[in-house]
């Protein structure tokens, strides 16, 4: 280093480097909007022959919600947004799922598994940290301010720095649901996999900190998808009339990994949990009937899925429901019965809300 300033501790570790952008506390933000991925639900209504049961979302698991925040950090470096999970009593899990530039601000989406229809539900609050040069205010002229070689402020003692108190890596469960996916015309796709749990996430000196004081930054990188298909068909003669019907249903959930901090089994031993939340869900069915003849080909089409469902799904994705919900359109059924990135080490960073409140 030929210019600038570095401040080190007694262990020769760099605390401040004028060439590095240090993240400072920008503010605490509540969401400006919330939404959910629209249910993909489509199929014919009452049909004369065959079962008309559950042509809706009965039995499907509760869907999580997306909370949107606008972070006034004006520059190309994304802010770090820590989640304060306010719904801790309900075992709600959260995750950062999107950080994108939006005008002079950054838009951040937090996914929460909480039940927003519940009166007791509390939406997550975020604590945002930004490089000093992206603050709207200039240094006040007193205290310690460092600048890089381009003259941009990189550290300001007048602002609270990001203090990391712990962290680690965690993976997601292999799949979101184990066991039966349902029976007849009802699906069972709840998240029922056991949480992956990591202990020793903060130094022992902080072991007395309550989990409600911990805020975390952890982008969701794992996802899972499960689907349940049930198809039935019948043909024959009843009351001296030919009849034939076929009904094929596909129910699915697309899950994203989510996290929460909790007090561990040992008093005040903080632990970090990972599992999935239902991000999107759908139910598409086809049901056709005929009383004049037996239409075997159609019955077999329904029974063997594939293109049959692909066409049905494609038809509803083309609608405008996603635009009004403020989310990207898509089938949200990228694959079936598996997960992606579940075995990747997902880094999480911890801090304390009380440092900034």
């Amino acid at each position: 280093m030929t210019f600038g300033i570095q401040i080190k501790n007694n262990n020769d570790q760099i605390l401040i480097d004028s060439e590095m952008s240090h993240y400072h506390f920008l503010g605490k933000y509540t969401h400006y909007a919330s939404t959910q991925i629209p249910d993909l639900l489509d199929g014919p209504g009452y049909v004369s022959y065959g079962p008309n049961d559950n042509k809706n979302m009965n039995g499907m698991p509760q869907k999580g919600s997306i909370f949107k925040y606008s972070i006034p950090s004006n520059g190309p470096k994304p802010p770090m947004v820590f989640i304060q999970n306010k719904d801790v009593s309900q075992y709600t899990r959260c995750a950062n799922i999107l950080t994108k530039k939006s005008g002079s601000n950054w838009e951040v989406w937090i996914f929460s598994t909480g039940d927003i229809s519940s009166e007791s539900f509390l939406a997550p609050i975020v604590f945002a940290f930004s490089p000093r040069e992206q603050f709207a205010t200039s240094p006040s002229g007193h205290g310690l301010v460092t600048y890089d070689s381009s003259g941009n402020p990189t550290f300001d003692s007048n602002l609270k720095p990001l203090r990391v108190v712990g962290g680690g890596n965690i993976t997601a469960p292999s799949v979101a649901h184990t066991g039966s996916f349902g029976g007849v015309f009802i699906a069972d796709l709840e998240v029922n996999s056991s949480d992956v749990v990591r202990g020793n996430i903060v130094p022992s000196s902080l072991s007395q900190v309550n989990h409600t004081d911990i805020i975390f930054y952890c982008p969701s990188i794992a996802h899972a998808c499960h689907q349940y298909e049930y198809q039935a068909a019948d043909s024959g003669i009843s009351d001296w009339q030919n009849y034939a019907w076929s009904r094929g249903d596909i129910w699915w959930c697309f899950y994203r990994s989510t996290f929460r901090v909790n007090n561990g089994p040992i008093t005040n031993n903080l632990v970090f949990h990972a599992n999935y939340g239902v991000y999107a869900r759908g139910h598409v069915w086809q049901h056709v009937s005929d009383s004049s003849s037996v239409f075997t080909a159609l019955i077999l089409g329904a029974l063997t899925g594939g293109l049959y469902f692909a066409l049905a799904l494609g038809a509803i994705v083309a609608t405008g429901v996603f635009t009004s919900a403020g989310v990207a359109s898509g089938g949200y059924l990228p694959y079936s019965n598996g997960s992606r990135n579940s075995n990747l080490q997902n880094t999480f960073v911890l801090s304390r809300a009380s440092y900034y409140e």
Binding site: S174, H226, E229, Y230, A233, D239, W240, L300, T304, G305
Partner: protein, 287 residues
Amino acid sequence: MNNVLKMCEDHCGGWEVVFSDVIDDKHILTISMVSVDACHYDDELHHKLHEGMSSHSHRKIVKTEAFIFDHYPSDEEIEEELINNGFNPIIQECIGHATFAFSGNVAVENNTTLQMTAPIKTITEGQEDVFEYSALLHPEEFDNLYRMLPITVEDKPTSMSIKGSWLYLYYVRDSHSRPTQFFDDDYFLYSVRVHKDTGQVVRKGYNKGLTLTEEEISTLQDAETFENIIATGYYLDEPRITLYYMRSSEPEDFVNNPAIVEIPYLGTTWENGSILHTREYMRDEIN
């Protein structure tokens, strides 16, 4: 899904692994399970069922979901897991057992549908029992009666019987189509009575359920006390009405389809508002 398709075409149960994946050393198999109804028909019987428009079904179910194993399982291990999760290649609740209209009830033994030949028997107090012979199942008896007809009949009936000097022709047909030689209006079932000597024709049409108005019922002696009406018979050429009803309100006496006579039931006929007779309908072997 090749095997699934084949199983559906062949109407036989089984399973097929349609997709597999390995995640974190876990084998996730997506398996389609095919179940079919227990009613198996041989070709000859099946042909006869369609020819006679006899009630029967070919039900199939395909259920697809994922199963997780810690190694790639053998067929035996897959089968065991599927059975533990309730899979049965045979649908246990056979919805729509074959029923043989005017040709006897059915019995399902060892997943095979058997044809029973007991005809419909009509019992009237003080009168001789009358059997109704199916064109399909009792061709000899049917033909004997058919040859006795003194008139030309354009539509061959599905069954016949004889009471005294009257030959009875019954029409239980595809989509309830009417024998246009005799009827101008649509009913659920049709019967025609032909005098074997004079050729006189008397017609009767049947509706499912009670289709009389309250005012019409009030003109029939004690008719308001009848319960569980399953059909109404209209004599088109005589001042008569018949109401068909279950023997009791008990579940074992519930009649789903009066034409099949799987469950015995009763019929009371009024003439000019007064009760003429009450008959009982059932299946019974020919003595």
